[in-house]
Amino acid sequence: MTNRLGVLVLLVLATACDRLRPTEPLEQAGLDSQLRQTLGVWGALPIRQVPPQNPALVDLGQSLFFDKVLSGNRDMACATCHDPLSQALDGLTLSVGTGGTGLGSSRTLGAGRQFVPRNAPSLMNQGLGFFYMLWDGRINDEFGGGSTKAPAGVVLPPGLTNLLAAQAMLPVLNRVEMRGNAGDTDVFGNQNELANIPDANPPDVWRATMTRLLSIQAYVAKFNAAYPGQGTANLGFQHAANALAAFQIHSFTRINSPFDRYLAHDNSALTTEQKRGALLFFGRARCSTCHTGALLGGTNFANIGIPQVGPGVGAAAPLDIGRAEHISPQMGGSFYRFSFRVPALRNVELTAPYMHNGVYPTLEAVVRHYTNADSALRNYDVTQLPVALRATYRNDAATFQDLLTNLDFRLKFREIELSATDQQEIVAFLKSLTDPDARNMAGAVPASVPSGLAIRN
């Protein structure tokens, strides 16, 4: 027995010694630990509350946002395409500008009019400090420091408080969106004086728009309340733009999603499926390589091979080459061919249809696209489009080749393999980005506007 016990003692000693393998990783500490580590790597941080806005400015901005008097034909307000009852967008694949009728997704094109070439993005959370505005980033603060860049031919006036205000200077210049065509008459049969101003003269459009606004006494009072001491004679459209921005920041900021609560240390805010989806989003699915940072996007541009639909933009029409339209070839414009701004994703569940031209009606379709952009482009199901737009879908080999040649490197060289369950989990995560308050923003709609024009028709 002595020998047997001695052998046993030595066996135990040997077993213990044999396992000495320092610094090998132990078992993973769980879903939350993994996810929080990943979030840290991608800089997904909580967002501080936006600063409170001047109430008088917000009040003025609210009136302007809903007032069709800003459009040449007095038939379009900002809210027409960015309806708070539809999460500050219209739900259309491509928006319908001046001359159209109806609201939201039932809005129809007017006779002789064309679609706005791009999808109307939701204005929710546009005041969170982006460096780029619009799908092609043509309004930007690319180099920081508040030096706002505008598209060619537009010189922005001084005094704009932020990029969102700078963006608000543009729709009133756009003939398809708000200004109308030369010779148009407004809804009362009067001449559209804004439309008769040459395109090369934006300051005159802004001045004329202000003349319209300040001919309404209620607006004079609201401007004076928002800008005390400014003097009515010194007011420019930039003051209106600042008010529009203040209203949007005040009314359309929605950053209390389950994901935001998770970032604030509440592990129970996300379901297990959403956490798995988040791990995919920030991991194997590589979504966060573009949708990066605290805002989960909005900081860069990518050509992800989206089918070309719509009338096209600028010199490239009927194509829409996106960011490249605003960057000369000498400055690397070809790099950006077909690149569009990577959208920030909070409340994305509520902002269908998706992509710069609204070609995908569901998040499921969007996620599926990423698994094989080449195939998704070539095999795009045109029935997802409204009938009126199907004819504009460009499915010729040359367009495919053009798009795929410059496909973003993150998609070009390696497929993203996602099972059906993976895709479902990613969608579940995307739905965790929804602030419940974003589902109903009716409180932003005023009872009336100073011009007396109808708000909802």
């Binding site: 213990a16 132990l26 500490a29 769980g30 580590q37 400090g129």
Partner: protein, 483 residues
Amino acid sequence: MTSRLAFACSIAVLSPLFGPAGAQVIRVKTIPVAESEQFSFLPSAGTGSVAIAVADTLADPFSNPAKMSRVQRAHFFGAPTFFSVTGASSGGSTFPLGVMWHSGPVFGGFGAAFQQINRADSRFFGGPEPLSSTSPGGPNDPPGTRNRYSFGTLGYKLDSARLSIAGSASWSGLEVVEGVDQFYTGSEWIRQQGEAVDLRIGVLKEWRGKQSLEAVLVRNRFGHSHNAGLREFFWDPATRNIVSQTRVEHNAERTNTWGLHLEYERPLADSGWRIGALFTGNRIEHPRLPNYEILTGFGHDGRSSAYNFGVGVGRSHGLVTYGIDAIYEPISSRTRMSDSVENRFRFSNAKLRAGLSRTFEMAMPGTSIRLQLGAELYSVQYVLNQHDRLQNLGRVRKETWLERTQTGGMSFGFPGFEIQYQLRSKSGLGRQGLNNNPIFFGGFGPDVLGLTTAPIWGPENRSGMLESVRVTWHQITVSIPHR
């Protein structure tokens, strides 16, 4: 009390009790986190870590105060002890001093220890400066690094009945528990304060022929609180920048243990073999026990019943002693995680210990060298049943891991004193690892070159996963008999 992500278990597990007296207080541990060795500083002269059928003349009196009756004459001891956790850059040193004596029917001992802990500080690699500090009560003084311990025993031996009875008390004043920083990733500072009290009454009945039965009643109380200043980062829409601010998190916890320990041992005829058996029962009120994923606050919403059933054999054969212990450790534990969610753990842990020592008589009379070697395998296995009353949902999870400890030592006996060096190394455990990549705040700036911006580096980022560490422990014991 604030919700926190953590993978580690409660502080009470990190710091169950100081010294070998911890043998009667069973740990309840749901994650293979490396607990601190800072409380192992009382002297030992054992054979590996074998304890049931092989006596440890130095350590036994601290397990059962009645065993101090076996001390034949007064002696002083000092046992400078050092430990370190590799990979966690932390460790500490302790300097205990004590005396034991036996005079007529009365015996006793007392001592004190002072300890210095080297805390693994958070490191920053730049990043945004704090926007503002919201740290009420955030002290500006350097954090405490010293702990104090005191202990005393008093007993009486009825020679006629071969019965000894004794009581002991120990007190720990804690400024720092090593490893607490694991709970506060990225903390700028941590202030801790705690106290532990251990009271026990021990009885030892001995019969002729070296047969003995002992019983120990234990009452152990541990209370600890910590304030941590955590630097948190935010995206600030107003400045379009990342800003940080300091948030203070406060947690407090208590662990109360009642324990009963019974142990019997006897020789096997004249073979030189001894056999023994033990039973330990603990009733523990403790903080919430996290499952593998989260720890929601600490609190004291857990209750456990823990037992040890052990047998051991050992033999002293000439100058060689060896032994082996086998202990089965069933534990059942209930922890309320929230108003509706309850965790029920059922553990089936097991320990296997073996030790071997050999004494070499030296040429000089009264001098000797003793070498010892030991190993312990501690298998932890549990099933977690988690139930949500409100949603009527449940899940089951099984976990298992193996902790490995090796010990070695060498002692030199001289006519006037004995000096001993011991080494212990524990593996199979982990600490929350440090990421090689600090937080990358990329992607916030403009896309000038078609790529995201240059990185902004944040503070170190704990990986959130356990990474293997080795806990090493060294002790030099000097024991001087009083002449």
